[in-house]
Symmetry: C2
Subunit: 720 residues, 2 copies
Amino acid sequence: MKNNRSRFITLVLILALAFSNPNKIYAEDGYDLWLRYKKIENRDLLKSYQTVLKNVVIRSETSTFNAAKKELKTALPNLLDSEISFSDLNENGGNLIVALRSDSKFISENVNESELKNLGNEGYLIKSLKSNNIVITGNTEVGILYGVFRFLQQIQQEKDISKLEISDFPKTKIRILNHWDNLDRTVERGYAGFSLWDWFRLPDVVDPRYKDYARANASIGINGSVITNVNANALILTPLYLEKIAKLADVFRPYGIKVYLTARFSAPIELDKLPTADPLDPQVQLWWKNKAEEIYKYIPDFGGFLVKANSEGQPGPQNYNRNHAEGANLLADAVAPFGGIVMWRAFVYDQNVPDDRAKQAYTEFKPLDGKFRDNVIVQVKNGAIDFQPREPFHPLFGAMEKSNIMMEFQITQEYLGFSTHLVFLAPLFEECLKADTYAKGEGSTVASSIDGSMHGQKLTGMAGVANIGTDRNWTGHPFAQANWYAFGRLAWDPYLKSAEIADEWIRMTFSNDEKFVQPVLGMMLISRENCVNYMTPLGLHHIMGRSHHHGPGPWVTGGRPDWTAVYYHRADSIGVGFNRTQTGSNATGQYFKPVADKFNNIETCPEEFLLWFHHVPWNYKMKSGNILWDEICYHYNGGVTAVREMQKSWNSLEKSVDSERFNYVQSLLKIQEKEAVWWRNSCILYFQTFSKLPIPEYIEKSDKTLEEYMKIRELYMPGI
Amino acid sequence: MKNNRSRFITLVLILALAFSNPNKIYAEDGYDLWLRYKKIENRDLLKSYQTVLKNVVIRSETSTFNAAKKELKTALPNLLDSEISFSDLNENGGNLIVALRSDSKFISENVNESELKNLGNEGYLIKSLKSNNIVITGNTEVGILYGVFRFLQQIQQEKDISKLEISDFPKTKIRILNHWDNLDRTVERGYAGFSLWDWFRLPDVVDPRYKDYARANASIGINGSVITNVNANALILTPLYLEKIAKLADVFRPYGIKVYLTARFSAPIELDKLPTADPLDPQVQLWWKNKAEEIYKYIPDFGGFLVKANSEGQPGPQNYNRNHAEGANLLADAVAPFGGIVMWRAFVYDQNVPDDRAKQAYTEFKPLDGKFRDNVIVQVKNGAIDFQPREPFHPLFGAMEKSNIMMEFQITQEYLGFSTHLVFLAPLFEECLKADTYAKGEGSTVASSIDGSMHGQKLTGMAGVANIGTDRNWTGHPFAQANWYAFGRLAWDPYLKSAEIADEWIRMTFSNDEKFVQPVLGMMLISRENCVNYMTPLGLHHIMGRSHHHGPGPWVTGGRPDWTAVYYHRADSIGVGFNRTQTGSNATGQYFKPVADKFNNIETCPEEFLLWFHHVPWNYKMKSGNILWDEICYHYNGGVTAVREMQKSWNSLEKSVDSERFNYVQSLLKIQEKEAVWWRNSCILYFQTFSKLPIPEYIEKSDKTLEEYMKIRELYMPGI
């Protein structure tokens, strides 16, 4: 009897267990980014993780340790589908010990001081020790927080954690997002909804989303955020807004993220009716000194200013016949007492300056080398025009020897398909970073300029124009999240490879299933080249729709020349392309000799930059044997074909991904395919009016005429 | 040995069961609105539900039944925390049978045809039968869908489902939201983020959110949505947008929701360069006929148009010396062949018409009574000015005897604190609906006009200007959701009481815990009167900040008079208030005699409308014994005190609600308290300059002077 009852109870319990988790489907709306802490699917691995990780030893009296603890409390039980205790060291092992060496007997006994020496104030050490103990430590709390995220990523990516020895620290100091957010919450060049910053409800209401923003950034080592548009509004420097911004800074601080603001150069005039904003005027200097004091009262660890001056209509020092260094130093001196910095953009060009737009930034800034204060860093776009699908690296990299210089990449896809095209940008970033400037001989990569090793600069950094907005999935396109992620990883280490970045991201954001990872990896890695192909192959650039920058517009002409398309492609009956060699604008002359020589000679100029540097006849023989005209057509068409391949590939993965994101990406790929066709047809038909050569037979006939394409008017485009 | 092992296994299983749901905290971000299907907390009730509900019998070959089935599949397992089968009728009972009578043997055997007779084409019957069987049926699929939602709400509200007999059908035909959404995604008078409609990505990408929008509306019986701003843009009538709108219509259709659009009267000119938009011009008539045909090709069940004409700058028939009926009939004839309707707004007023703004709509529309086509319905705001915290009912209700007339309520809190003030609007709606017009003697309530019973009109309806946007919780303030909910319930049944609506909503959105429900119910029911008190007591109206309508602005003067504040309060050394009696503008004369008499006589005029209808001396003796001046101060101060009471009340409920929403509401109450103080101080100080009487001692001293308040300039306000 007793046995039967026991068996019955056992059976009941088994059934109860079996039914205790009625199938709850979690919609994957992308909100969790790469911080999805889903139960590990690999059963053996799950078991081994559960064996190793039983207890976490972590204090929580500081806000940063509290943040780290919360992250572990959210992540581990879900990843490991088990209870994890958060308590004192368990003598039997299975502990994750997270602490400063000075705060932990265990760590001081098991980790040498020398192991932390190189970590600096943001690095971490993750080390497996005996008895299944793992330590995460560093020289600072924030470093340890970064270590915690890195550790969790090992599990998310189903790595072996039994023999961990990860010692890492960032290679640049300022790893920062630039939000081109306006005070009315529109986002310039933003395609993911509107601005995250709810100014109206701040400071009283602090949206929970701000914290998730901070977590996401901390997880990839981003330590700063400029939260306002470079086309600046002076109002943000007033108490009304400083009070609100201080609240944001409070949310970011535990995560190691500083707040920065854009400074409108004419603020003294606009806000306090000073008669001038001349950087050498003592009243103006006093005004900025007082303003800085005021800001630092609200935000004691305020990062500093980002400035766009004398560019596209923004006020600046040149309004007073002063130069960029004088302007930058004005602000730099104001924030220096408080440890602040000034990031001064080199994105300058003027239609009244009778020179190739691509040359103007170098022409203005090179002579100023060495004239900037130590706490100024010149922010330079990756290329000399403006974030095109492909640009050769900016000649200022390597050329600025005595001044601090930092990279500005664009994460938001202003010229690469908004948030409707799947384009993984790490290859674009990587291409620029590994480019050889030859500034100090071979091997003088752009990355070595960025990390300070080339010229020994102390202040280093990388900025990314954010693609983040109020859309539920933050970035509009689910795959655009990968660009935010990639930017963070490269800001931390400019030498990383696109493939490893993509691999990390795919596993954490989607799945570790190799049947999914491999095809998606391939798709992502080729996507940037696809985009170049269907938009601007072979060095073509800036041939998009006017103003909103959406869709093809190679015919755009009229008005300011350097805002047209014809200025850049210069198509005529002979050929197409911009002669930037010494026989043309001599933009090549701004590079160091080996680079200049390579670009100057049409034979050695890489074909991907051909039409950037040369005006090339339509019948010029390319390396493939095609004439230029046919090569252009081939690339445009190849881009379209590639998008269709992406669609097929994605469709084949339906079973490996949640239906919500599967459908969403599938729908976006439909748009991308239609737009790739639109680009191909428009550009080929347009350039044909110059080449007068036949379109290759294998290219499907356009369903619209050139006139019909030219008539398209797009209204209410996002981002402007 | 065997026993011990069995016990051991049992113990292991018990522990496994206990630990099988590692505590996963669900953040309550408000996205689920009142459709949160949380496990029933009351254990006994849960058990009884589980006994009764084991199997659901429902087909799913049509999109509406599919929607109903999906809702049940989402809801029941979560509510009941158990497995529910979806399969054929189980002879042992415990079935929920959801079907048309004609499709179900069980229903036809157990439910009489006569029981469905009154249900019309949107009603439902929910009935408990023996053996724990429950049927949900009706004459149409959509009616049954409504029944499914109603049934689930019984469970959500922890009601007894053993003896259900609910027979319900809507009392109005058109139950419709008006979204004042612009094509650039800004929302006029919108305080919950931006427009839901992602025009740029439509039609290819269909945001999953659209479906949740449809579900939420269907759950409260809303069957239509005007998705574009009454300040209309003709572009929406073009194929580019019709293609996108058709996709939205596809998502809404299974949920019984029709799409409507706002029609810009000058569209023939703007879109096709017709020389005129004269409603009597044959070319114009042909244009609208063709346009309707075109629209119905895209959207076969398109609902029709909403029109704002000759109001606040919008074009209309009066531009051609035609009247509103001629304008409405033009469009009505165009959509009539397809079953469409036209909702023509009576919100008209003109600064050049030398008469009280409150009179102008009646003056223009009353003579047109009976001149509108059968498929036109005149849309009238609840009061004669513009959605003030309190207005007497609009004189057109009851007065239009031969034309269809519908209500327009404002759900978005343009004049009641945006989305930062907790104000439950059901009392405002209810007050209007139960007002007696005396059109056909006593008992001629506004509600009886709205439901068609007063004058026998066939086309009936209620419109609500939506408070919905891209904010995660849809409405900005968590409690603003209750206003969307209340609107839906009152559109379905204009005779419902605020208290029962609030009770339903609280239980489903928050908790059935009486310790929570009762205080929150009290808080919600008094919140509208609180708002009236701290903003516009005793009949004061339209004294808010100019343009953005935020904050107090009783001093607003200059420019168009009927857009100032002074026009409405007319404060002088004698007193304050607008004389609308027969000795003044005689707006009272537009009401039926018993009503006019009541308002005309200062003794019988309800004090809540005193200053709406009378210019009253500062020393006038109120019923309380106070003079008017002191009474005004008393109300303003009472409003502030009441908000502080709300704060205390909410603070005491911390343990009964999830921390995310608790904190969010607590933060918003802080803003509300500050703004209530701002209103009180500004208004009392301002009116004191006229009354020249002392502010009662018990009112705390203002921390700002009147001059300081008048200097406040708010920039970048949402909603404009």
